[in-house]
């Protein structure tokens, strides 16, 4: 072969990507680039400044911060990355074509690795900014930045390879009958478990704030006794050693990181070679048989006309349980969420944890609706054309999706807010408030999420995560954040009003405890709540009008 297969594959991917950009609306592309640059500069600058300040002011916490940042990066990639690892390594018709061609599996693995890493590399840029900020704050040498760049790349490669190894190992050693389920379980436990480990690490290191022991070979032993043996923290230790000018420790930590990476990548490549075909069969498409109970007596008792709304909900419920990529994306996130909520539950110590609870409920609502609601309509995939053919209005579709998504979101926020209240010993009145807030936020966020997905759907995408375009993702995040801030702000103002009316001024606020100020803050609170509601209405309206005028080329597959 005159040219390497890896190069040929990558060139084809690059061309496809370029053609997609060329076909897109140029105004939209320019707008997105400008938005990304502006947002990136503001956000990146803020993050950099924060990290620099922290690195400067808290020299003793540098090591913990760097280790924490690298672990956070790994956790994030582990949690969100499994579906794309499955998609890039084990699914897709283009992969079939590569298998047919005279290309070695190792070449497919290498070419696909770059592809699989592309999304994670974007995430990694954020961490690179943070790491650079810590370096700037600590007055690190140029070597620090070079090493940071290299180590972040290695970390991304490592996590991607680790995921591929997990999947390949499952495919290799678990009987095919249960391999799909085990794969999902592995994906969830890997992300969730490491997340918990990370949290414990942070609590130990940040909690003690003791000056770091000298990180050299002897400290490796003492480190083993802590939870910091988590490999994802090693590059962090290497970088902090560079800051301290401890060359030997830096070499050791970099060395162990590299060795670990080589081992994992090697294992992934070897295993992949043996499992590519099995994986294609098992994860590449729809399972051929679904375990259904032996033909139960047909359910014919139901009478009355069929209802499109319920039909859509029933179909989504069935498909959710059978779609491995969706499950592998959804379960780790759930574990992540639950772990987060559990960590925030603190036994009441007489302090009022009401605002803590409000924050958790808001976060859970936002998270859950990003998870479920945004993809609700794009997840119809090609089946969306069936809805366009049927006498079903786009408004009926939006309503069905909102109602169906509300059920799990409200159930989970309900459980979490109740759990928080019980553990925190809130009064029934406060508990009721938190529950009402959960309902308000849940309904609003789900409406916004479903609408955002409808505004920018990509029905041809095989992967849920690419099924919502960038505009839709930003619309969902922006809309939900705005709605959440308006709502929580309104609640806070109601509290302020109550306190002012009772004659208690709030320290640090330039408002007197007079009825006039109380009335004013109630008025502003109502206005904020109305603003939140109008965000929801606007999004729903946009979604409906967009779906009604929707026309997109129907590509097969």
């Amino acid at each position: 072969m005159s040219r390497s297969a890896v190069g040929i594959i990558l060139r084809a991917e690059w061309r496809a990507w370029r053609n997609r950009i060329a076909k897109a609306n140029p105004l939209r592309v320019v707008g997105l680039v400008v938005f990304a640059l502006l947002g990136g500069t503001v956000f990146g600058g803020f993050l950099f400044a924060l990290a620099a300040a922290a690195g400067h002011l808290l020299p003793s916490a540098r090591d913990a911060m760097l280790a924490g940042a690298f672990t956070a990066l790994s956790v994030l990639m582990l949690v969100v990355g499994f579906p794309s690892v499955i998609a890039t390594y084990f699914a897709g018709r283009d992969l079939m074509q590569l298998v047919l061609a005279p290309v070695r599996s190792i070449e497919i693995f290498l070419a696909r690795s770059l592809f699989a890493m592309s999304a994670n590399l974007l995430v990694a840029v954020v961490f690179l900014i943070f790491v650079a900020g810590v370096g700037a704050g600590s007055g690190a040498s140029p070597l620090y930045y070079l090493l940071a760049l290299a180590l972040v790349f290695v970390q991304v490669l490592l996590v991607t390879a680790l995921q591929a190894t997990f999947m390949a190992a499952v495919l290799r050693w678990v009987p095919a009958r249960i391999a799909r389920d085990v794969a999902v379980a592995v994906a969830s436990i890997a992300g969730g478990g490491l997340y918990l480990a990370w949290n414990l690490t942070l609590r130990q290191t940040l909690g003690s704030f003791a000056p770091r022991h000298q990180p050299d070979l002897s400290s490796l032993v003492s480190s083993l006794q802590r939870i910091e043996w988590v490999p994802s923290s090693w590059p962090g230790h290497a970088l902090s050693a560079v800051i301290e000018g401890n060359a030997s420790a830096a070499l050791v930590w970099t060395g162990v990181t590299l060795v670990f990476a080589i081992v994992v990548v090697g294992a992934a490549a070897l295993l992949y070679e043996r499992t590519l075909l099995a994986g294609l069969g098992l994860l590449g498409g729809v399972p051929s048989r679904w375990r259904t109970r032996r033909r139960k007596p047909p359910r014919v008792a139901a009478a009355g006309a069929g209802s499109p709304g319920f039909a859509i909900a029933r179909k989504d419920w069935i498909a959710y349980r059978r779609d491995i990529r969706r499950l592998s994306r959804f379960l780790p996130a759930m574990i992540f969420l639950l772990a987060y909520a559990v960590l925030l539950i603190r036994p009441g110590r007489g302090i009022d944890l009401f605002w803590n609870d409000v924050f958790v409920v808001a976060f859970v609502s936002l998270f859950m609706s990003m998870m479920f609601a945004t993809t609700a309509i794009p997840a119809e995939r090609r089946g969306y054309q069936l809805l366009r053919l049927a006498p079903v209005t786009s408004w009926q579709l939006i309503r069905a999706k909102v109602l169906f998504t509300l059920v799990p979101v409200l159930a989970l926020t309900g459980v979490i807010s109740l759990g928080l209240s019980l553990a925190g010993g809130n009064s029934p009145w406060k508990t009721l408030q938190v529950a009402l807030l959960a309902v308000w936020l849940g309904v609003g966020c789900v409406c916004i999420g479903v609408s955002a997905g409808a505004i920018d759907p990509n029905f041809e995408s095989a992967d849920d995560r690419r099924s919502v375009g960038i505009v839709g993702t930003f619309a969902a995040m922006g809309g939900e954040l705005a709605f959440g801030l308006f709502s929580v702000g309104a609640l806070a103002l109601f509290y302020l009003a109550a306190s002012l009316a009772a004659g208690n001024a709030v320290a640090g606020l330039p408002v007197a405890a007079t009825p006039a100020f109380a009335v004013a803050s109630v008025v502003i609170a109502v206005a904020l709540a109305a603003a939140g509601a109008s965000v929801v209405v606007l999004m729903l309206w946009l979604a409906n009008s967009h779906l009604r005028g929707f026309e997109n080329s129907i590509v097969s597959n």
Binding site: G306, Q385, I554
Partner: protein, 262 residues
């Protein structure tokens, strides 16, 4: 407008994709109970025309009427009467065949109950899908997907069927079944528009045939009318097709392909 509108009417349909003119000024009418065939080379615009008729893509210009209802102005009325089968049927891969048919029936608000159930079982039996219980539609073979797509149309007895290459990928027995079925439906008043590349299917089934070439309707009529138009009473449909859709002779092309390279 006449008392009873045509089952299907295309009025000056045009569809452009940027510079590509996929369909240019296509007009025709199909009366109730007729089987109407679309022929044309690859890329001639058959699929585009059918998709405009069923409301999936909006014409750049022109109107599509189903039973007198404008597909875009009165979509609910038109869609309730219409069944469309795509070249690659739209399905939900994670449902079983039964679940899929149930879903479609619900979308069209068919009454639930034993009547619907019996109909579903009959259709599954007819297309030999009944014993595929527990198998997901996404894992069906190409022909089976085609069959479940057809079944999902027939379960609701639409009065107009738009079928894009319905026999594509079917085994001979199933293809025969579909042909017989369409004929029987037509005698009961269902209107069928189908596109096909199999001239024998068109000749056997269709009362009238339309031939498309590069976005234009180059001929419409019964076999006799097409023959008169082409000026030869003995011509087969294949002759007519080749004559009406321009292109170099295939023997010439093959010679060029296999000629030794200089």
């Amino acid at each position: 407008m006449s008392q009873t509108p045509h089952a299907v009417e295309a009025r000056h349909l045009v569809k452009g994709y940027g510079v590509v003119r996929a369909v240019q000024d296509v007009s025709f009418q199909v009366p109730r109970g007729e089987i109407f065939g679309f022929l044309g080379a690859n890329g001639a615009g058959k699929t585009t025309t059918l998709r405009m008729l069923c409301g999936l893509i909006r014409p750049t210009a022109g109107t599509a009427l189903i039973d007198g209802f404008d597909v875009f102005a009165q979509p609910m009325e038109a869609k309730a009467r219409l069944g469309y089968l795509d070249e690659e049927p739209f399905i939900h891969p994670h449902l079983t065949g039964r679940e899929f048919l149930d879903y479609i029936a619900d979308l069209y608000r068919m009454p639930r109950g034993p009547e619907r159930h019996r109909r579903m079982e009959r259709l599954l039996g007819l297309f030999e899908l009944a014993d595929r219980d527990g198998e997901l539609v996404g894992a069906y073979s190409h022909g089976m997907k085609q069959k479940i797509g057809l079944a999902s149309l027939l379960i609701r007895e639409p009065s107009v069927l738009l079928l894009d290459e319905p026999t594509n990928g079917l085994d001979p027995r199933s293809a025969r079944l579909v042909k017989d079925l369409l004929e029987e439906l037509a005698t009961r008043g269902t209107t069928v528009l189908l596109s096909t590349h199999i001239l024998e299917v068109a000749q056997a089934l269709c009362r009238r045939i339309a031939i498309m070439d590069r976005g234009h309707l180059v001929a419409t009529g019964t076999m006799e009318e097409l023959r008169t138009q082409a000026g030869s009473a003995q011509a087969t449909l294949e002759d007519l097709f080749l004559r009406l859709t321009a292109g170099p002779e295939s023997s010439e092309l093959i010679e060029r392909l296999l000629a030794p390279q200089p």
